[in-house]
Structures are given as C-alpha cells and as structure tokens.
Symmetry: C2
Subunit: 657 residues, 2 copies
C-alpha cells in the first residue's frame, strides 16, 4: 500500500484524457500537488491509503475548468455600464474609471473577487490580461489558483505606466520575479492590433521568446478591426501579426471572431492557440467565432469568460454550453461541436491553449491535482440515460450549472469544500468591493451631472471657450441685406454658403449642440462637411440696448465621434433638431470683424428669413463697444423693434414644442 | 389597518409595471390569490397588517417569470439524444420513444419534474404543448403553477389519439373541462405548418375562437420549413396561416426564427404574439430570431425555454440573458434589446404573449400574486453600482443565476420557501423518473443492438426479404461474357449499365448497404439515380458445389433519407465504400430468370473484372436446382476453380483493409 494525501472517490471520474475515459465508481489519488493514480475505486483503494478519503457518492469528479481569457481585476467594474456601444462603454465609462481608480490594491481586490466566483464555477486555471499584473499574480497565488497572467502593453499611457517603455520594463521585471512559480506563469499581453504598433508587437514577442513565456493578445474581435487593418496595413490581422514576427512567441489569441480559413492555417502553422469568448462576443455585438471551422483546421481552441464588464459573469458552465450551441447555428449543423468537444475545450484543450497542457486540464497521472467535484443528480439534470456513452458530457454541458460544483482542488490544495471557500473571505471582500463601488458611483454621478466634465472625460478633445455679442431679427425686407453689404463702412472679407444640421441635446442646466456644417461651394464641387460640438448654457450673460445679447460657449471642439455616440453617451433629457440654410459673410465694419448670417430655417420650417449680426468678444469693455456697433447696423437697416428676436432659434415658439 | 394574508418586504420591489417602478425598501401585500398593494415598506406597514410578514433583507422581489414555450412532459426525455441532426433526433429517438412510453402517467410525472425545475428557476407561469394535456393540467394545478396548456393536433397518429378527429374531440373535452380554472387556461396546439393541413388549421382556429382560448403553434422554426411552404403552398408561412384563417384565434407563435418584416406586420395586425426560444434555436441550428426587428415592429414577444429535449434546461435566467446578448449580435448593435427589455419579455410582455396580461407578469394591484424573491448580493453579482437606474435590470439579466431564487409564490400560494419546494416531493419524483429512464434505456439499447428493429423504428419504410443463390469469379477471359450471352439456351431479357456507389455500414452481426444506382442509358440521357438500403448478415446460409452460395437479405427498401442521416442514426462500427461499373443482363437460362453482372471495381480499384451469376430463390429445393444451373454456366465458361471468389467484394483482400 502506498501512502497518499487524499483519495477522492465518486460515481464517475470523467478524466478528459486522450481516450476520454469515464471511470464509473472511480477514484483519484493525490499526493502533494500531484495526481498519483486514477482508476476504479476498488483499484485505488487496493493500492493506496490516505488519511483523507473524500467520499463523493452521487457526484462526478472532473478536471478543474480552464478559463482561457479574462480580466480579473475588472470584476470590480461589473455592471458599471451595460447595453452601450463599444466606444461609449470603453471611452465613456471604463477608461475614465480605470484612469481614476486602478491601483495595485484595486487589482488585488478585483482578482480575489473574481477568484471567488471562478472557484464557485469550477475553474482552477485562468489566463488574464490587465494592469499591475504582479499584484494579480500575488493575489492569485495567495488564493491558490493557477494563472497565466499577461501584463498589458499599450501605445497609450496605462494606469500602471506612463509610456510603452515603462510597460515593457515593468513586464520584464514581472516575468523575472514570477517565472518558475508553481501556480503562476507570467506573460506579456500586447493589448490588440489597434492599440499597439508593429514595432511594439515585435519587441513584445522578443521579450516573450527570451523568457519562453506565453504572449496573450486580443485578435480580430470585430469586423471593424479587420477592415481597419486592411485599410491601414493592407493586410488582414493574422498576416500582419506574422509580418510583425508576433508568432516568434507562443501566442494565445483571444476572440478570433473574424478570421478566415487561411488565417486559421497560419495560426496552426505557428502553433498558436485561440481563446473563444462566446458571451462577450455576443454581448458587444462582435459576432460569432467560426469555432467548428477552427476545429476542422485542427486549431487548439479554449473557452474564456472574458472580463465581467463585457459578459458579466465568470461562469464557465454558461460559456461551455453557449460555445456548443452557438457553434451549431454558426455552422448550420446541429452535430457541430458536440458536448464532448465543448467540454474538451473547457478542460484539456483549454490547458493546451494556455500552454499548460502538461500541467492541468485532465485527470491523468503526472499532472497537477486540479480537480472539481459536482452533483450528478440535481433536479435540473434528471432523468439520466445510459445508452449513449457521450450522454454524460451532454448532461454536463447542456444541463449542469456552475452551482452544481461542490468541491474544488487546485495544485493539491482544497479551495472549496461543500461550497465553502477555504482560501477567501467573501464577506470581507464584498464589503471592500462595495466601498469601491460607492467611490466609483460618486465619481461618475458627479461627472454625469456636469456635462463639461463628461465631455472632458472622453478625452482627446480640446476645450475652447468663447464669448459672442449678437443680435437676431426677422428680415421682412430682403433687400436690406444688400444695403448692409453695400454700406460704405462695410468691407466683405469672406462669403460662405452653408447647409447646417443642428442637433441639440438638452439638459437641466446646459445645452450641447452637435452641428454638421455642409459648405455649399458655388462651383458645385463636393461639399465639405464639418462637425462641431458646442456646449452652452441657456442663460444670457448680458443684454445691451434690449437687442444685442452677450452669450458664452463653454466648450467648442471638433466632433470626432458620431452623433449616435454622443447621444448614447450623454443621454440627454430631450433632443431637438434644426436645419437651416445659411449665407454667411465675414465683414469688417469700422475695422471690427463681424459675421452676418442670412438664415432660412428649413426644418422645422419658419416662414420668414432671419438676419444675425455677431462678433467675438473677450472683455466687458470690448463687448459694450461691439454691441454699440451692432446696434448701429440694426438702426441702419431700420429693423422694427418688434422684429428683434432675443431668443435662440431653439426657443422660438413652434420650434421649442 | 387592513388585514391581508402576507406582506413580503425586501431591498427592492422590481415591479415591471408600465412605469418600470423600482421601489427601494419596498413591500407587496397579498390576500388570497391577489396583490392588494405595492409600495415602500413604510407605506405598506402603515396601512396593512398580516400574520405572515416575510422579511427579505438583502433580496429583490420580482414578478414570477413567464415561460412562453415548453413541452413539460418531455422533461422525462432530457438528454436522451443530443448533438444529432433534427431528423435523426426526432424520427430516430424522440418519436419512437414517445410512441412506446407516452401515457397519462408519463405526462403527469414529466410535468411535475419540469415544475420542480421551473419553480427553482423563478418561473410561475408557462405555456405548454404536448399530448394528454388534461393530465398536464391536473399535475400543474396540483403543483400550483399557472399554465396555458395546448393539446397537440397532428395529421399523424399521436400517442394520445389514433387520428386527427380523435385529437380534436379530445381537445374539445379538455377545454370544456378546464376552462374557468384559476390556474389553468386550456388551449389548442396545432403542431406546426408542416404537420397539419390548412383545413386542420382552420378547424383548430374555429375551436379556439368558439371557446375564446389561445391557439399555440410552432411557426417558421427553420429555413427549410419556409422553403417547403413556398414550394408547396406558394407562400411564406405567416401568409399561409392567414389564408387558413388561423388568426381568427388568439395565436401564440413559437420560434418565428425565419419571418420577414411583412410577416411581422401581419402578426401584429392580427394581434398575435411570439415566443422566442433562443437556446433551442441555437442548439438545433435553426438560427437566430430577429427579435430586435420584431420589437421595432411593436410585436409582443415572450421568451421560452422550449422542452428539455432541445435545450436541455428549463432555466429562464439563461434564456433571458441569451435573448439579450444574442439579439445584439443578430442586430449588429450592442444597444439592441437592453436588459430592461429582456426582463420585460420574461415577465409582463411574456404574460401578454400568453394572453395573461391581466393576470400576471408584473407586481401591480389587481393582478394575481405571482411573486419571486431572489438574492441581491451573491458574489457573482458584486459589486453593484447605483448611477444607472437600469443597472438593476442588467444585474438580473446579465449576472444573476436561477439558483439565486429563494422564494416563489404563485396565485398567492408559496411553492418554494428558502429553496425548499412545498408542493412537490423531488426525491420521489426523481426515483420515478429514474425508473422510466431505465425502461427507455432498455428499449433503446435493445433496439440499438438490432439493426433491423432500428430500421423499422424510423418507420415509413417497407420491409422486404430475399434469398439469392449466386456465384462470383474473376473474369480473365473477357470474351467469355459474349460466349455466355450467345449460349444457345440463354435468352437476354434486359440489359442495363450501372454506375454503383455502395456504402457499407458494418456492425458486429450485420451489414447495412446503402447503394446509389446510377443507370447509364445508351442514349446518354440524364442518368436515373435510385438509392436502396439492404441489410445482410456476413454469414452465408449455404454453399453448393463449393462455388455457389446462398445469401439472405433481411431487409430491402428504398432509401428515402440521406446517407448522412443513416450514418448518424446507425453509428456503424466501421464504414466501407465501394464504387463499381456494372453491366447487367437479365437472362433466362433453361426457363429460369437469372442475372449476369460484369463488374469492374473502380474504387478501391481491382485489376481484373468479375462476373457474377445469380438468381432469386424461395425454397431449399429451388435453391439447389438453381445452384446446379449456375454451376453449369460456370463450367461452360471454363472458369478455373482458383478464380471462383466465395467472398463479397467487401471481404476481398485489399478491400477489407
């Protein structure tokens, strides 16, 4: 009799080994971190003795599940912002919050909460990509889970590095510090083809090759990414990666939603692997990865939950089930990716995808003891048929739930027994998480209340500010405009003809105008379109002569995103549209630059045209002087006082309905 | 103070009413079957008193979920056969098993197990389609759940009716018996456009209209169904249904995966509703229903689990989450079907889809007390942000699990408290289910072992049987064939030239040949192709003169399904292919009809051609006489004994490898 530490015996051992052995009334013997023997209970008990015999009657024994793609610290951002466009979500919420809150402490706490959820879902190994990955490593090792942990590399400043060079230096130190650890495999993670340059890819691959650590990256997640690659680099993503010598490293590519057959063969040729994230891909509307085709091409494909901010759960049972059923509709074939294949991707093949094929993913002698035990007979998985030997996989993949998992062991250490976590204190963690949530809520709520700071948060946009004095009037006598332009003291500097499409987002205290200016050239050439954002407050700063008003625009900038982006990001209380035809003259009157607009409001239609006379200003004295000049011109045009319009177009009756 | 029966108070009441009120620190007052009041805890406790105050601190209170499409008795067939083609699954496994096992007792037991799983998943109402629906009703009422229960109508015999007329009569009695019940709404369920005629549709609609009960039907589940409808009826499915006056009834149409915009408008015009079953549609590779478009067209869409034999779970949390994320990829828009909309489909809109909008689906005064309580703070749903008022829906839809449900009340009666079912004994039910599973396993295992009964199980194929005496030889002297045909006692009856493609499925005791005969006409017209199945045993019945053998084909029939169907249905141990060019003469020799084949085996290629001489036989005396005649012809051709081949082509060396 050989002495081992633990013998786990149950209704069946689902080994997920090469022969797919399912051992009825089976047992696994564990000593230290290792699986010493796998066999029938009788065989094991005849040859091994252990102080600790865990009887799992009515339960199945499986290898720990392998989550090949996630961002564990982001668990602290779960549910922060859902049902948004990718750019609104990322640039409007995730990145501003990360800039403000991501610290080593944040990463340790987020990692631990993620580990709690993952252990409960039967996961023992995961591949991560985030910042402060040394802290992710420390927390993961403390919990006792197995991780391939990739420090993120970006061409932009990151929460843990002001520049790319700092990131690379951090990663080198991180790899040197953690390599050889029994649970942690440090790795490098150039973020994605659109956030790193070719030079950075090559340097990352070189660093990975130097230490023989894996390289994690997001690849071809969206159709747009592929289109952009073709436009900018003249190549699809995988050939570009090949040219950048990425595959000099052992690459684990997450997503691969939009890769074609030749790219699949290229991935296979280089021995690279894929992490398939079905929920995340559906939720961000990225599409459905062609998994059945990848498997036909003999790619090594694992399954990943992705981070909770795009999923929002770290539940491998949901992912495995979804991977299996989604592949059938994608391939238009109900026999595609059968349950056994799906579970393989979540275990042994997932481990291979993470370059841990020798270590975990199946219950075999020589591998580490990463073992889960789950209820075999919950009501949601009854009855059970024995005819089809693959039926046991179908039960686990199509009907089991993560909450069926009862015990979890990783590297020979129990992490959960009878659904009690042994290496984590959930109550404490959740209290700390609630503290962060409160702070993040305050940060965002404060920002939401202030449209200007919300504008600034999306970054990259320069802030401008301007004061204008202006007068507006109904122009009943259209000849007046010619009289004005022929005034002896007026010099015409420039003349432009615009079609203007304005969308006003209305808030309690502010108004944001998105304007598309289409300049209509006399030569009938292609019109030039320009989009600009202007933030104003409805209140007038001052009124001169009862006709000329001083207004203040707090923010003027090019609008480099779509109208829809801004609408979904700002979620205005109300919205108004205004379309007008504008003839504009830049004039100099008594040496002062002014703008004269002759406007026809087309939609909603106003019967009379309008004239506007305005000038930029910067001081009180200046604005008074300019208001006087504007009043002179109004008098010259003999516009009746009743026709003076103190309101914006938006506030006029009939428009403001 | 008004007296009520029960006050349920919790962290938030998520009412799902028209205003989507979420009442923080809310409560619901229940008396008898009804919701008497909904408000803040303080309001409710100020106006109502109850003996039974259920304190749900740390929990949410929601309306019971509404499962708009399922087949509850089929829960007894969960996991019976997965990862198969639809036809193999349905005709090979489900229908033969249903023919053998579906009884009133089966339906009652299956219903109860399904109810147990559904209650645990927070479901209080469901729409069902199956057989013996009066027994489904009795079991559902006994459990205390709410059901719209449709008796299935088919043009074929069903487990509970030998003919359509019997089904219709059963349904009339069923409706008369159950209408007006507080929990049960009887309904009629013509199965699908491809299993009922237009006349049946019209009669079903008339019966439904007579009693004002809903009509449940599967509609446009697969692309094939739509193609077939266009081919046969010259119309897409919904216009055909309209022509058949189906919409004279209140229709709940399940699936609607393949409907276009004009069909959506037609459904809306008729006030019909849709049950969306995302998991089932993915798993059978039917596709993704265009839910975002349907909602744009203002259709009333509910969510359904479908039956466990195509899902395989009755977990509404999985369905709601999948409905929300799948719609985003289908619409190529991550803002499509936000969480609030998805939960609406699983509650109030689902109830409207089942024509129970006045009764259930939201927590409002005047509706029945169908209420669930779920944990608000499990680790898989932390942290929680308050900024976005819709965040609470995102937490429930994207991260909550069915196992978060703690209490369930239906019609004012508690069905589950603290995760304990109160109206069902799960242990007893599961023991009975295990009994059925054993019987069904035996039935199928016995059938699996006997290829003939497995052939018969797929039905519609006539069984034939034949005995043949035959001899086969290598033909080294090709002129011999002319000598034979010019033999003075030989009369040529018919001559045919075939290309034959044989696929042999090999089993331990039997061999099934799928043969495609392509007859090559001399006039070079389009070849006629015929597929036939032949079941043989490798053993020879008898050998005469050491050259002529008697063989027995136990089954000959036209093969009306595809090779792939048979392959996946029979799952042979091995498979061999054989392609040959065959010249065949029907000859009469001394008054006896015989067949002479001149065969060239092309793939796998054999160098020499072969001659076969054979004749059908029916008695021992007859076979001896015919064996003698065949031996005479072999002698006449002077074929050396060494060239006689006692084996089938399949058994020849080089072929049988």
């Amino acid at each position: 009799m050989k002495q081992v530490d633990t013998i786990i015996q149950g209704d069946a051992v689902i080994t997920m080994n090469k022969q797919f052995d399912v051992i009825v009334d089976g047992a696994v013997a564990v000593k230290d971190a290792d699986i010493i023997a796998v066999g029938t209970r009788d065989e094991i008990l005849a040859h091994y003795e252990a102080d600790n015999i865990v009887d799992c009657a009515g339960q199945y024994i499986l290898p720990g599940l392998v989550n090949t793609h996630t961002h564990v610290p982001m668990t602290l951002l779960r549910g922060l912002a859902d049902d948004l466009r990718l750019d609104v979500w990322l640039m409007g919420y995730i990145m501003p919050t990360e800039r403000e809150f991501v610290t080593p402490e944040f990463c340790r706490l987020g990692t631990k909460i993620a580990c709690a959820e993952m252990i409960r879902s039967g996961i023992t190994s995961f591949a991560d990509m985030y910042y402060y990955e040394a802290d992710v490593a420390a927390a993961t090792a403390e919990v006792g889970m197995r991780g391939v942990l990739g420090e993120t590399i970006l061409k932009f400043p990151a929460p843990d590095a002001e520049s790319y060079d700092q990131s690379l230096a951090y990663t080198r130190r991180f790899i040197e510090e953690w390599r050889g650890h029994s649970l942690i495999t440090p790795a490098i993670a150039p973020h994605a083809p659109y956030t790193v340059t070719d030079e950075m890819l090559e340097q990352c691959a070189r660093l990975a090759a130097e230490f023989d650590v894996p390289l994690l990256i997001h690849i071809s997640e969206t159709a747009l990414e592929v289109e952009d690659n073709i436009r900018i680099y003249g190549n699809r993503v995988i050939p570009r990666m090949q040219n950048a010598r990425l595959f000099d490293a052992r690459v684990l590519a997450a997503h691969c939603v939009h890769i074609d057959r030749s790219e699949m063969r290229m991935i296979r040729h280089h021995g690279a692997t894929v992490a398939h994230c079905p929920s995340s891909n559906l939720k961000v509307a990225a599409g459905i990865a062609p998994i059945a085709e990848m498997l036909e091409e003999k790619l090594i494909v694992g399954i990943g939950t992705d981070g909770t901010s795009s999923n929002n759960a770290l539940d491998m049972f949901e992912e495995v089930r979804l991977a299996a059923i989604l592949a059938k509709t994608k391939a238009n074939d109900p026999t595609a990716v059968p349950a056994k294949q799906a579970l393989l991707m979540a275990t042994r093949q997932g481990a291979e995808a993470m370059y841990l094929g020798d270590v975990t993913g199946s219950l075999e002698v020589g591998k580490r003891a990463d073992i889960i035990v789950m209820d075999a007979h919950p009501v949601h998985n009854m009855p059970q048929f024995e005819r089809d030997p693959d039926g046991i996989y179908a039960r686990i993949v199509y009907a089991a739930k993560s909450t069926d998992v009862v015990h979890v062991m990783c590297n020979g250490q129990w992490l959960m027994l009878n659904r009690e976590l042994l290496t984590l204190n959930e109550t404490e963690l959740l209290a700390q998480a609630a503290d962060y949530a409160r702070q993040i809520d305050s940060f965002l709520i404060e920002r939401e209340g202030d449209i200007l700071s919300k504008l600034l948060a999306i970054g990259g946009i320069e802030q401008g500010e301007s004061y204008e004095v202006q007068a507006k009037a109904v122009l009943r006598d259209e000849a007046a405009i010619d009289r004005l332009l022929n005034h002896p003291d007026v010099e015409i500097v420039k003349h432009i003809h615009y079609q203007q499409y304005d969308t006003y987002f209305l808030f309690d205290e502010a108004r944001l105008r998105y304007r598309e200016d289409e300049s209509i050239d006399a030569g009938l050439e292609v019109p030039q379109v320009r989009s600009r954002l202007t933030l104003t407050t409805p209140a007038k700063e001052h009124v001169f002569h009862s006709a000329v008003v001083l207004s203040h625009s707090r923010f003027i900038a090019d609008a480099d995103r779509s109208l829809r982006f801004y609408r979904e990001y700002f979620q205005p209380k109300a919205e108004r549209n205004l379309e007008k035809d504008r003839l504009r003259w830049h004039i100099r009157y008594k040496g002062v630059l002014m703008y004269v607009n002759y406007d026809r409001v087309i939609d909603p239609e106003l019967p009379e045209p309008f004239i506007e006379i305005k000038s930029r200003t910067w001081s009180e004295a200046d604005s008074e002087k300019k208001a006087d000049l504007i009043q002179e011109l109004l008098d010259y045009l003999a516009i009746p006082a009743d026709d003076i319009v103190p309101a914006d177009y938006l506030e006029m009756e009939g428009l403001a309905k």
